[in-house]
């Protein structure tokens, strides 16, 4: 389980996260929802150590990881998939994938590559192409596949649906759900697209201006009309 307690992050005078506490239970999808500027991306960046927390704590299976630098996360089994489809455009698809598995060697590399190509056959077809020729959906598959190369326990996903066609979003989200059920992956999913996120999430956390507004099972959140109108825009 990944737990966040009273996390506060500031950028200069701006408080992006203001005492956020939440849990991502093992083997479940926890969706973090909210409008632009609610602090969703900052939450993930603070959890993975890209930004320093002003206050509060992050723990993985009870071990405090708040002050660990970002480069240690992969080794612990936490994979942060950044927003904006953070592929390394100058490297090939295969190189991007290999890079994902360099710092947590579990199983042989060819075997892990094979598994990713099974999940995303299109990546196998284009393994020697430079990542910058991929489409938006393929890039999203590549970053998820790259994260899976490390066989993570926890997947932190930042807006995987951003800029993708609904059909591709559905495909990627269905695959995430499969991974959770099959491998017991723990997912913390940050999304603006609340409808899609709640369709695969077990629990939902709503952020508003850096604070937790609600924490509910996904179905109940989807049914809560007041909350939906106020924070989720549907």
């Amino acid at each position: 389980m990944l737990a966040v307690h009273d996390l506060t992050t500031t950028y200069g005078a701006v408080t992006a996260l203001d005492g956020v506490s939440l849990e991502a239970p093992a083997g479940q999808v926890t969706a973090v929802l909210g409008a632009n500027g609610a602090g969703k991306t900052t939450l993930l960046r603070t959890v993975s150590g890209l930004v320093r927390a002003q206050r509060g704590a992050v723990s993985l299976e009870g071990t405090d990881i708040t002050r660990l630098p970002a480069e240690r996360m992969t080794g612990l089994g936490i994979a942060h998939v950044p927003e904006g489809r953070g592929v390394i455009a100058e490297l090939t698809v295969a190189e991007n994938l290999r890079l994902g598995g360099l710092h947590r060697r579990q199983g042989s590399e060819p075997e892990r590559l094979e598994r990713v190509y099974e999940l995303f056959p299109v990546l196998g077809d284009r393994s020697n192409a430079l990542a910058h020729v991929l489409s938006g959906g393929e890039r999203q598959m590549l970053v998820i596949g790259r994260a899976l190369m490390a066989r993570p326990r926890v997947l932190l996903l930042d807006e995987p649906s951003l800029g993708l066609a609904p059909r591709v979003v559905a495909q990627i989200f269905a695959l995430l759900r499969t991974l959770v059920e099959r491998d017991g992956l723990t997912v913390l999913l940050v999304e603006q697209n609340a409808t899609s996120a709640l369709s695969i999430a077990d629990r939902g956390v709503v952020l508003g201006l850096g604070r937790v507004v609600a924490t509910e099972p996904a179905e109940r959140l989807a049914a809560d009309e007041k909350l939906r109108h106020a924070y989720l825009g549907f």
Partner: protein
């Protein structure tokens, strides 16, 4: 024919020297997006270190190895102690830092090693080779120069293309934040990039010094040509740097051999302007699409 061969081989040798210098610039540019103006004086300092070792022990190769090792250490130190602290503070700050280092190292070298002209030995003869009774206009040291640069290029390409460390270095250079999230120690990769670049720079220094005189400014004449070679090939491409160096060496050699030696600096300038006009990214650039 004799003159043609002389000019050709002379150009290749000269080109190999420019290539090694351009390669060093390219390595730092690739990993940190910094043009290292202190490249030449850094190589000058390590060449002096090599010369001291050669004079003390009488072994050229020991001095050669120590100079390369000194380059590794100096490159790493410059990155750790200086460059790192101005990173992210704007590109101009780093440029000014390396220019300051240029001046400082010149002064330091004059203090430590003196500013007299000192002769630097060459490991092989400096007389032309004889092949089948004919004089060939290339010295054994010239052959060594070309071979050494070729080996370094092959090793670097292998490092970047086929090793995990090379993959980490490229990831750290292209996309530091993503690389960190994947577990790459970006800072260490940048230090390694500077260290390797300084090793290649040291090699350039040794190749220029071999059989010549060494003094604190002895590298300065190469600086301009090394930069032109790097821009010609594309600062991003190691192969481009070497090809750029060779092309420039040949062009300058033919201009000097067939037209007039006085035109060499102007020709380099014309080449530079021409490349910048036609292909600003260099002959070997493949400009990756960047998201805005």
């Amino acid at each position: 024919m004799q003159q043609f061969m002389t000019t050709l081989l002379g150009g290749l040798t000269l080109g190999a020297v420019y290539a090694s210098f351009a390669l060093a610039l390219c390595l730092i540019w690739r990993s940190t997006r910094v043009v290292n103006f202190a490249q030449a004086p850094m190589a000058m300092v390590t060449t002096y270190v090599g010369l001291e070792v050669i004079e003390a022990t009488g072994s050229y190769w020991l001095g050669f190895a120590v100079a390369l090792a000194a380059g590794f250490v100096l490159g790493a130190l410059v990155e750790r102690l200086l460059v790192r602290h101005v990173e992210g503070a704007g590109d101009l700050n780093i440029v000014i830092l390396t220019l300051g280092l240029f001046v400082a190292l010149h002064g330091l070298a004059a203090l430590v090693f003196g500013s007299d002209y000192r002769s630097f030995p060459a490991p092989f003869g400096l007389k032309g080779l004889h092949v089948g009774g004919h004089n060939v206009a290339i010295t054994p040291f010239g052959v060594f120069t070309i071979v050494a640069v070729g080996i370094v290029l092959v090793l670097l390409v292998l490092l970047f293309r086929s090793t995990d460390v090379g993959l980490r270095m490229r990831a750290a250079a292209f996309s530091p934040e993503v690389a960190r999230l994947l577990g790459v120690r970006v800072g260490a990769m940048l230090t390694l990039g500077w260290a390797l670049a300084a090793v290649v720079g040291s090699l350039a220094g040794l190749l220029i010094a071999g059989g010549n005189l060494v003094f604190p400014q002895y590298m300065d004449s190469v600086v301009v040509y090394g930069f032109v070679a790097a821009v010609l090939g594309g600062l991003d491409s190691p192969v481009g740097s070497v090809v750029g160096g060779l092309i420039l060496g040949l062009v300058l050699s033919f201009v000097s051999g067939y037209v007039a030696g006085d035109l060499v600096p102007v020709t380099a300038l014309i080449v530079l302007v021409g490349v910048l006009l036609v292909r600003p990214g260099g002959l070997f650039s493949h400009v990756a699409e960047r998201r805005v």
